[in-house]
Amino acid sequence: MIEVMTSNYAAAHGARLAKVEVIAAYPITPQSSISEKLAEMSVKGELHGQYILVESEHSAMSLLIGASYVGARTFTATSSQGLALMHEMLYWATGARRPIVMIVASRAMAPPWNIWGDQMDVIGERDTGWMQFFCENNQETLDTIIMSYKIAEDRSVMLPAMVVEDGFILSHTFEAVDLPNQDDVDDFLPKFNPELKIDFNDPRRFGGLVMPDWWSEFRYRIAQDMEGAKKKIVEVDKEFGKKFGRTYGGLVEFYNCDDADVVLALAGSAVGTAKDVSDKMRERGKKVGVVKIKALRPLPAEELRKLNDMVPVVGVFDRSFNFGHGGGIFSEMRNGIYTPDGGPLIKNYVGGMGGRDFTPKHMEWVFEDLLRIKKEGKVDRMIEWIPLRDGTGRWY
């Protein structure tokens, strides 16, 4: 059934269809309409699970960890400062191996106060051991939530998953969304059945102290399972495609890349803009491609390394600036692509932050800049912020 809805409502429907058993969330823009919709579904009896009010995001995540320990399928939604407040418990969810699924309507981190779309919040949490899946449109938000449970709850994975939708750009934009029917989702997604859970008839202690002589092994196990999750993600994406007719490339989607001169790698809603611009530029004979980063964690390094043989120039777009040498996705890309033998020329474009429009015009400028780099054979400026009032008059 096709309905017109925002990505936030698509997320709520995704959680409903996944038959989540416990939801705990605290309102924050631009996530709020997800938890409001879930609360409404709960009151109307449309929700399989229980909606629990909490006093903060830290409490929301803590509650879900407990609920997950008894074997419940759990869900929450947050943004920006709320995600930051959860930070401590994000590590707990990972270490305790709880397959919690959370949607983040990504938003800028204050100050100055800014409620708009920006991936700084989620990029800042990329090392907490959560899987991170970025969405390009509202349909993908719904589908990714359903797929995330199947991936996260697999006994070989048992890691939490963060589904990312760009704040406002997706969260508050209406699009046609195909709502799968419940029977098909039930058929695709088995009940959560963890190997170990809290059972009063068979008591155990969870999350106790581990001495230094076993700590590395616990970390290594998580690292291994995160690596192993890559196979599962690709598998689940294919299976989802068979059942529902939609796939998202597994970990990475190479769009218009086969004979490309240059490609732009990026994550989130801007992927759609890049694809459109790429199509239009190809009509004019300009061979530009798009690398859609669906999963930032686990980092699909093997897939990204294929770019070594595909193109001489790679651009990376960051919709945030996480204070480092270039944006967060840029750092990840270089880490993924480069081998001891080197790699392609690479340049970072930082833009579309804090709700700033990043239009097809900007995107075209990026592709043209990459084509220029290919022609000149060198990167003159590794990190470029666009648009930026830098006094050059290029943008305004």
Partner: protein, 94 residues
């Protein structure tokens, strides 16, 4: 309890398969509570306050008994006792 040799043997979630009962924390003690029945009014404040459940009252009306297998010697019982029936003494090291 399973035998753990490599990281592969670890359970999918950090879990301990045995009870905390096997962890006899009494060895941590440097001071021990000593109990004087003649001063005790059996108010059971010590039983209420002990953070380690190391003060036991088997039946109502009995004198409280300290379980030295687990008592860590924190001294809360002695501090709270209104009748000074519990006194902390330096642990005798052999």
């Amino acid at each position: 309890m399973p035998i753990l040799e490599t990281y592969k043997d670890l359970p999918s979630t950090p879990v301990t398969f045995y009870s905390t009962e096997s962890n006899k924390t009494g060895t941590w003690r440097t001071v021990r509570p000593t109990f004087n029945e003649s001063k005790c009014t059996r108010c059971y404040i010590c039983w209420k306050y002990c953070p380690d459940l190391s003060v036991e009252v088997a039946n109502e009306g009995d004198f409280p008994k300290i379980d030295y297998d687990y008592c860590k010697g924190c001294g809360i019982c002695a501090n709270e006792c209104p009748s000074e029936a519990i006194v902390m003494e330096k642990e005798a090291h052999k």
